[in-house]
Symmetry: C2
């Protein structure tokens, strides 16, 4: 018989960047019956417009809470270094027009857009948030296919994090523990978009570009723009973000 506690354990914390993958993940988690908590991160990324998308999508998904955590980018970036992550202003330039991405030839290298231990830090925050709310699930939009170069998007890392989370928490030791879900991990970008469209995801309110304008206009040249464009082309629909008036 339903006693209420199941409902509590069924709550999930979703890592929500505001990008195409994490917003799809949010609606997958909702469709799988979870009550939703969302967490986003402001770490000095060039693409801060995504945080507006995250806030709006968390609202639409009926999240019980949504927190945007500020992380001092100095922890990701040595101020004296010039080879530092391209995702934060002051780092390397964002690579553009890397057509080799689209053929899979670029897959084996870790891109300069890698941010040191980012997903581990984001997941750790999500775990504290989840444990304090008695939520038993963490959802992450990690994808190993387009960017198998990111070490912290690979299933081996995600599985290891889940193990560590269950060893290092009260809920893991005494309770039912945590499940880490990465529902998109093996999907192509086109698979993800098809799945999201079926769930009614509004992709006009998602941001993928690594260096958009303040109002969210994508550059159309960075890796993330190229992969998104390819995905929509394969699905055969226009990207609704490009139909908006973004100065």
């Amino acid at each position: 018989m339903y006693d209420g506690s199941f409902s509590v354990r069924m709550a999930a914390v979703v890592l929500l960047s505001g990008g195409l993958d994490s917003v799809t993940t949010l609606f997958v988690a909702k469709a799988e019956g979870h009550e939703i908590y969302c967490i986003s991160f402001d770490y000095g990324q060039r693409h801060r417009f995504e945080l507006q998308c995250a806030t709006e999508q968390a609202r639409r998904a009926g999240a019980l809470e949504h927190h945007t955590v500020k992380i001092d980018p100095v922890l990701f970036q040595d101020r004296s270094s010039h080879s530092a992550t391209a995702l934060i202003a002051g780092g390397a330039a964002v690579p553009e027009n890397r057509s080799e991405l689209l053929t899979g030839a670029a897959e084996k290298q870790i891109p300069v857009t890698y941010v040191p231990a980012r997903n581990l830090l984001f997941l750790a925050y999500a775990l504290s948030f989840a444990e304090s709310r008695s939520a038993g699930y963490l959802y992450i939009g990690a994808n190993a296919l387009d960017y198998s170069g990111y070490p912290d998007c690979r299933p081996a890392f995600l599985q290891s994090f889940e193990t560590t989370a269950n060893l290092g928490t009260k809920a893991g030791i005494e309770g039912q523990g945590f499940s880490l879900k990465a529902p998109l991990v093996d999907d192509t970008k086109a698979d993800i978009i098809r799945r999201g469209l079926k769930l009614g995801v509004d992709y006009s309110m998602t941001s993928s570009c690594y260096q958009p304008s303040d109002k969210g206009r994508p550059c159309g040249r960075c890796d993330s723009c190229l992969l998104r464009e390819k995905g929509f082309a394969e699905v055969g629909v226009e990207d609704p973000l490009l139909l908006k008036d973004l100065a």
Copy 2:
């Protein structure tokens, strides 16, 4: 032959709360030949005085950088809950005069001073900081003996974190990876104090109490005060903190 790169990889990030254990760990790391980076956390703990100790000890140890990271306590603490962690104002009361602690009878339970997934989050921050500085070592003052109740102080958790860290980072995949050191994990409080005294640690500038006065006067009744008192008594020296004029 020494080529300089060894020196860089020999750098260590020390998790420095400003307590007796972490300050001892800092000077152990220094004695083991590492260049030192320190990281501390302000998460709304009642015992914020420890952060002043951390800053002063990092300076004395000649740390290359010391960052105090602010973490919104809402992530550790459901605002609507009254059973929440005792370490943050608004949570449960800090337990006092638990003499069973000193006999080992209290060891099997997770204390109410547990903070959800705290050490995992702190270690994740330390890892981002370490990777961005090309430091290959993380030091934590975790101790499994006095408080085997804390899941995130146990060797099984720490080992799993190290594995996860090496799976989820560029330095772990392509480079020499990370070693997580917990040099005090099996020591008694008296062992720790003896070790620190040999290294010249000034314990008058460490804070252990869970609810000290603003100027750092310990309450003398919380678990942490009792264990510290027992440790100094076993070593047979007076705790220099108690000799200071702390209003």
